[in-house]
Symmetry: C2
Subunit: 420 residues, 2 copies
């Protein structure tokens, strides 16, 4: 018994020692990144003409990665490979400045993208760098890179517990190991705290507590509607993944000149926005500059989005991220889910804010194959009283999202259910 | 893509079809069991003399299992073996009536025990029975037994989401697979709903939201206190596991006559209670009949327990369950944790209700090696706003609880952290 306790203390101190510096730097850089992102979005709102340069900026971004990328274009997948020890190339430190720069450029000029990929790459590449420099023998290298992923995710969304479980869940489809639980938890909490110290605030979403809806009063019809919504969220995720992949493969195959891909992509984004007569789907879309604009926040209100808002955001994001621009997928996935949830809530006669919340976490759960992290994300963002509905929706969406997710390096050894 | 969706629908319908009847029966029997348990506790309060029969009842319980037990005495471990396909004997259906009867007897005559073990055995043996009778080829047998575990846990505590993850986590130390996630979720929700339909209510615990304590205001000292408490909870769990094992092995070795073991055990429980001059530690101890009695509920109030309450409950429960009586370990673990949390909270100058809540879930997390289920349990019982503290305390306690837990059949393939 004493030996077990001594060893636990040793692991605890080693984890703190190794993780602390990486988490502090990650939290700081994510704070810088979020600051720049805010400024870029504000600048774009005030200078609408800037979006016409999107195709040109695409060339710049592609060139940057081709000339000095050193393989870091593979992004999150490179991080996952590093953790799973599938990669011999390693994660270059330059991934951090490059992804910050190119993501901010993407947002400044109106690409439809997210930010968590950037944060995860910041954390992951910093962790890989500390492994290389300090040659830590205190904990397994793999654990530190996982902690880097958790640190990045935690700081960018302000959700340390979801981030901890996320870092464990993205490695494999359908199973997790707990050996990095403690290191990821420390990294998440430290990085989030540091980011908050810089004065970064996170958007607040709220679901009104509806006393009529409780898992303790059994409303079968309501449960059925939640299940239906979960299925829809899973299928939406599949559409996103399939369309992104199709776009990536076909452009690679049919467009010979690499630099042309982002030009066409940027052009398509502009053209679709022009047809829809709105720039609400460009950039992060967490909030809108207009009082009645469409955004993630507006998706929590009745009639806050159009019926096809989820679809347009899906299309624009797939084009942006598959055709040379940079940024995360997760915030757009939040948008897609919240907007689809809003539409389903209106259609099914259910509380729109709750269904927006369910979509927000469930499309993410489905596309990243992280059902547990997603329900914890729901608790951290919207409160614990809806946990049963979060769980049902996330788990159903996870089962309905097919065998592929947005991270190609995520290992798919186990299937989602036993085949018999 | 369509093939994936079709297969997901098939798995969904199969799961519902196979799980539904088992979950309904489990929910009903757990409701009956909880009803009987209430009556037994009430009867004991009104007829104090009854506890003097405890040693004799121990003989009866031991005899029942020896004569008609058919191996079902192994209880939860037999269920885990059945799921992991380690057992060829199978789980007999008689496990259900036997465990209900012997647990109610244990509580009626004042043994210190819990109830989740009983509920898990009801669900598990019913599931194994449906496998045997209906020869389902719709889902893997293993999945249905896991769903039975989830159904039992869910109904007995009214916490369907924690129950879902619990059923996945107890099979292995340090890793989980998601293939049974959906079946367990359905079973949990159905069984809990059915149990509530019978009018069963669950004790309500509450932690006052203290606006001063938030993960978003970084109070390093407070975090450190939570970590310290987590370590203490982990060590308390190790003491319980080690002491129980020691007791079980030494009585088996030194007491030749089997029937003498429960007589001595019952006598020890009575003697210690007599010395302490209280029967507060007998039975479930969720609530006390006396206004100022010691119970789990009183542990959430300042000065609600004595400084060594956690220790006495630990000793009495270990004796009761290691020396021939029946019932679960989990409710006593909740008591041990809540009481220790109360004492630590008073000592460290922290909110007593929060620390009681942390102990409640963390000693359980540590002893069963289920850190994720435990933090979800915290959300379901106490609300989501304290999730970060729940996570820190449960994860630390899990790391500090050593390599053994209360379930010997839980496989220990992976260690809690990588050894380097």
């Amino acid at each position: 018994m004493l030996k077990d306790i001594r060893e636990a203390f040793r692991h605890l101190f080693r984890s703190i020692l190794v993780v602390f510096p990486m988490a502090v730097v990650t939290g700081s850089l994510v704070a810088l990144f979020l600051f720049l992102l805010d400024k870029a979005t504000l600048f774009r709102w005030q200078n609408k003409w800037i979006i016409y340069l999107l195709p040109l900026i695409g060339i710049l971004i592609t060139q940057i990665y081709q000339v000095i990328g050193k393989g870091s274009e593979a992004g999150n997948n490179l991080i996952i490979d590093e953790i799973n020890e599938e990669s011999t190339k390693g994660v270059p430190l330059r991934m951090t400045p490059l992804i910050i720069l190119t993501t901010v450029l993407t947002h400044l000029f109106g690409g439809s993208a997210g930010r968590e990929g950037t944060a995860v790459q910041i954390g992951g590449s910093l962790a890989a760098f500390s492994n290389k420099i300090f040659k830590f023998k205190l904990i397994e290298k793999r654990l530190l890179v996982m902690a880097g992923v958790a640190a990045g995710f935690s700081a960018v969304f302000g959700t340390p517990i979801a981030a901890t479980v996320f870092a464990l869940e993205i490695l494999f489809v359908g199973r997790i190991r707990f050996d990095a639980l403690l290191t990821c938890l420390f990294a998440s909490i430290v990085s989030n705290s540091v980011c908050l110290l810089y004065g970064i605030t996170h958007t607040h979403y709220s679901i009104a507590s509806n006393p009529l809806i409780s898992i303790h009063q059994i409303d079968l019809l309501f449960l059925l509607k939640v299940i239906l919504a979960g299925i829809a969220f899973g299928i939406a995720s599949q559409i996103f993944v399939t369309f992104s992949e199709l776009l990536k493969n076909s452009t690679k195959k049919y467009i010979q000149k690499k630099w042309l891909i982002p030009v066409i992509g940027g052009g398509m984004v502009l053209f679709i926005s022009f047809l829809l007569n709105t720039d609400d789907y460009l950039g992060l879309s967490v909030i809108s500059e207009k009082a009645n604009g469409i955004s993630i926040v507006s998706a929590f209100k009745a009639n806050g989005v159009d019926e096809l808002s989820w679809f347009w955001k899906l299309i624009l994001t797939a084009i942006t991220l598959s055709m040379g621009f940079k940024g995360g997928e997760v915030t757009p996935l939040f948008f897609i889910g919240a907007a689809l949830g809003n539409t389903l809530g209106m259609f099914l006669g259910c509380p729109v804010d709750l269904f927006a919340g369910l979509g927000f976490i469930s499309v993410f759960a489905a596309a990243t194959n992280t059902p547990l992290a997603s329900m914890l994300l729901g608790v951290e963002l919207f409160g614990g009283e809806f946990l049963p509905f979060f769980a049902i929706s996330c788990i159903i969406a996870y089962y309905f999202s097919g065998s592929k997710g947005i991270y190609h390096s995520q290992k798919n050894e186990a299937s989602k259910w036993p085949k018999i």
